[in-house]
Amino acid sequence: MKLQRIEIENFASYYGKNAPIHLETDSKKPLVIFIGGTGFGKTSLFDAINWSLYGEEYENDLLKVKERSIVDYLNETALSEAANDNDRLNMSVTLYFEHDGDNGVREYYIKQSLLLQPKKDKKGNVSVEIVDRNHNLKEITPQGDHETIPYTRTFLDEILPNNVKSYFLFDGDRIHNLAKPGNSQEVQDAIYRVVDLEIVRNACEHLQETALWYGRRAAKSAKGELSEVENAYSEELKFRNDLKTKISDIKRERQAIKDQIELIDAKLKDLPETKALQERKNQLNKELTQNIENQKVLKNQMREEASKAFLGLANAPLIELRDLLKEKRAKGEIPKHIRETFFQDLFDQEECICGTEFNAKEGDPVYDTLMTRLESEKNRSAEEDQLIDLYHILNNAEVIINHSKEELTIKEDGIIELEKEEKSLLYQIQEIDSELGELPVEDVKVLWDQRKERKDRDDELIAELTTKQDEQKNTEKKLKELDDERKALGKKQQEAGAQHLRSELAKQSADILNTLYDDFAEKSRKTVEDLTIEEFKEFVISSSGYQVALSEDYSLEVLDSNGNRALQRLSMGQSQCLSLAFITAISRVSRKNPPLVIDMPFSRLDHSVHAAVSQRLPKLAEQTILFLIPEVEWNKTTQPNLSKYAKHVYEMHFDETMRQTTLTEVK
């Protein structure tokens, strides 16, 4: 979608029918810039774009987020005039845009309008009520006709779905918040929504429902014992699905609690009374993480050693066999090829061991007898050689097994030491926690109590999660048993058997889709992470010392060159750049190619990053609309970088007396 122009009538500070505001851009000049002070109508224009697209859905958002009804946006002057004349009046916004759909690029416009009736009470207070509302969506055909298109979610979902709009139409505060601790849920939602993971999730749920439905039908058409098994299977399947939902809910709640704890920790860290203790605690936590990692490495090494050392449990036959071979070797019973040499000596001397002389040629009876004997021994000599080898291998095996046992003992001592250290670290952390909890400062106490409350809830959830996961394992096992049973019984009842097959297919498809869902989610996370890293480097020149990550639990994370968490240490500007980098990554991953509308992108940025961000902003999307505050955001640094890429630059003027906004385009 690319915005073309917007027409506003009696909306907020825009009085009467305003001239169209041109928003179109091109590839060389992708920016439209509005410059206006606080209260000049920048955010109203932002709201107008949103309202025109999403109508009543956006009105609900306004009520929830800003506690404002749409009629509160009616222009004050227009209302007062209409009230005096006892006339009805219109409030409307029309947005013209292009969309590259299945039929190529087409031009559309969408109009939201309200017909309003002012009412005066006895005290002279004016209120207003909605008499009529209209929303029109029209396509302007290549022939110039305006064809009405039904205003449906389907069309909006194609151009810019409501649930992802907030990642393309957003304000400065939002940019500031994304990289703050405690926002992993929002970051995760953003990724899931822009890559349409919700569609896959819905498909999974639909298939699970289908499996249940066929299961119930199979139960209905089954008779006798099969009927009972079918009912049991259906109930177990429903129980399993509910368990899955419950487990997923618990995980979400845990993530939310983790976010809240992070937020509280960030606040606690900033309080001067707790700073020293928090720093000590962070250090101990770091040591604890390292300790646990070391234990894991050592335990894996122990597992490796154990796989050899446990052979010592059966070393008696190994020693017995080795000793037997040793004895046979000492006696000269193996290897036989010594005897072969011996035969050769007899042939050379032409005298048998018994003293009988013979002629070492074929035909001599003694020679022939000795040769026959030698041939039979030759066949066995290869085996004898292998037995000699086995003797050496057995000797060596015993050495290796004993060595592994010694290594295992050493490593076990190492683990005991690490476990002692772990206990000590945990004890020290607990001590700090209780010290923090006892601090007399009220703020600290309140925050600490909140933290403790959440930690306790998290512990409860961990226990609940373990129970539910165990239940899930059991129910999967039971399902399999019931499935085997119903299959066996179902073979005898054709109708029920056919329903099984459908139910099983739906269940298998849901399971496969579930796995795909997890894989896809993880791949999307990784892609967004890679792009965020790339974008962050573009935004912050000094970012080379930092490594950005989007963790597996969807927290935006920054590590310094020592691998320590550095998000808290980022300046506000750097932190905002991280959010912008993430938003840009999301926009690139979405492939929906929507415009970016950003309200006050520089408002909280350090001046030091203005240059880098203003150089980057024109390259973020094919069309970017910026609302900027003069001097603060539109200044000597940003203006040269932005103006050369701007198709339109508007200055906003606000008449305090009339409370009206007017625009002039800067050429």
């Binding site: 122990m302 446990f310 059966a314 190994l318 292998q386 086995l390 095996a397 290796i400």
Partner: protein
């Protein structure tokens, strides 16, 4: 002893699946990285407790190529010697493997009993059993 299939009793397969986990996660609860490791310990315990038990319905789980030539193969041959008390057939891979399979089949129950069912983490129980 190359390219031979190693078999276990079908009924025991679930136990193998439950106790073996590849990778480095959670070694405390999965003391065996491979089926081969669990097979070898089962065979050793089968010998230790004189629990030789022929396989009923067989299921092949891995190839003999994964046995360590320096320790596993000599142990398997030693177990065959312990059972047969003769040097005959010790170099016949299939025959010695069949004996090891019998011991492993009888020994897997002891693995479950001593390592899994005993209180404590399975890896600790295994190490204690080896070192004691």
């Amino acid at each position: 002893m190359k390219n031979l299939r190693v078999y276990i009793d079908k009924d025991k397969h679930e136990t193998y699946e439950k106790l073996v986990k590849r990778g480095s996660e959670n070694p405390d609860h999965f003391p065996f990285q491979t089926m081969k490791d669990l097979f070898m310990l089962s065979a050793c315990l089968g010998y230790k407790y004189d629990a030789y038990e022929e396989i009923g319905s067989s299921k092949d789980i891995f190839s003999s190529d994964v046995f360590d030539e320096k320790v596993d193969i000599p142990m398997i041959i030693s177990l065959a010697f312990a059972k047969e008390k003769t040097l005959m057939n010790l170099l016949n891979g299939r025959k010695v493997l069949d004996v090891a399979q019998g011991y492993a089949n009888g020994g897997i129950g002891y693995v479950v009993e001593e390592i899994i069912n005993n209180p404590g983490k399975p890896l600790n129980n295994l190490v204690e059993m080896i070192i004691d």
